[in-house]
Symmetry: C2
Subunit: 206 residues, 2 copies
Amino acid sequence: MKIAIIDDDILVSTALKTILEADGLIHVCATATDGADALRLYETHQPDVLLMDIRMKGTDGLDASSQILTRYPQARILLLTTFSDDGYIIQALKIGVKGYLLKQDYTSIVPALHAVCNGQTVFGREIVSRIPDLLQKKKEFSYADLGITKKEYGLITLVADGLNNKEIAGKMHLSEGTVRNYLSNILDKLELRDRTQLAVFYYQHL
Amino acid sequence: MKIAIIDDDILVSTALKTILEADGLIHVCATATDGADALRLYETHQPDVLLMDIRMKGTDGLDASSQILTRYPQARILLLTTFSDDGYIIQALKIGVKGYLLKQDYTSIVPALHAVCNGQTVFGREIVSRIPDLLQKKKEFSYADLGITKKEYGLITLVADGLNNKEIAGKMHLSEGTVRNYLSNILDKLELRDRTQLAVFYYQHL
DNA sequence: GCACCTTTATGACAAATGTCATCAAAAGAC
DNA sequence: GTCTTTTGATGACATTTGTCATAAAGGTGC
């Protein structure tokens, strides 16, 4: 099983290497110290799993993962993190990394590598237990915050479904002109220009 | 410990009631069969935990939870679901319910109630294991699949950023008319109607 | 050379969109 | 009761958008 390690701390990466190679089946085929090298490293060595630190100077592990997975969706990436920074968990999940472990929990890294190599996803228990909190926090603002009424919010969701004004008017039992006025109002409040920007705003922030 | 049960299936709610009251510490203080009654029921009985089905005719458990938690963020709600519908998990997490369990797993309901009452959040193991998949922004198809060229995809990302045709033309060094033609082509290929639907499609499927 | 395709552009057009001023009925506030 | 706000509607208007027919270059293949 070919593993590549990317960590900007050489001490950590060599320590990892010795730990991993103590397991007879694992071969560390490459190491790098900068996320910017990750993509090239993946292409040249085609490791079974890429073991990467999240916090790195230069390109961080998330950006690097995103780049790799965009081009090679089948890539298996296992991210390592310290327990202090859990802000990346959700983002990492969305990007589609196959695992997310605490560095401290070094005894579980080897089994995790085997599991990931078998197609499973591995998220440490401490990580999983943080997910509910993180997801909840991520509701950046509720629509009530900046003066959007309930009815207006309903209209926004319909725009974010791709309906045109006539269809929205039908669903909300309003006239098309009224829908246009409402929409104009909403765009004004949110400082947006048109319905497409509103849909984008909805998917990015609501 | 006061518990309220909301389930549109009376068989289920009475079964739940007997299971719960077998535990000496639990008292079922109220039941209802419609999510629309949930808010009123919560206000009048102030249960320690609200046990609610997700799938209900009329107002479903998510809407009801959302209403309650908007007004009473400290409310503790434990949702029940069948294993078939996992589409609500993320939404439930975002709303901020304190637990999410499988109905089938009835032996864990009582311990879960105690845990939730102590301020913990409880998500069944089967539920948690689904989270990575659900969160992962699944690239259902890469743009190459349905005849979208690289340049067209670039245009799509700009539409999905909320740019209008003139701005896109500037960014891509094309004339505005050409952008319109390209867009028209894309909409045709994807069987969409306008740029807003395209942005929606991008956020939901790409 | 010519035929063919791709890329880019134009002009014309109807439809949809966003803005605005205005109006009127319903609902609250006093 | 009156006064005010909210809610919904209308019409006019400029702009944007999407569609289509058409065409000028540019490259590819033969």
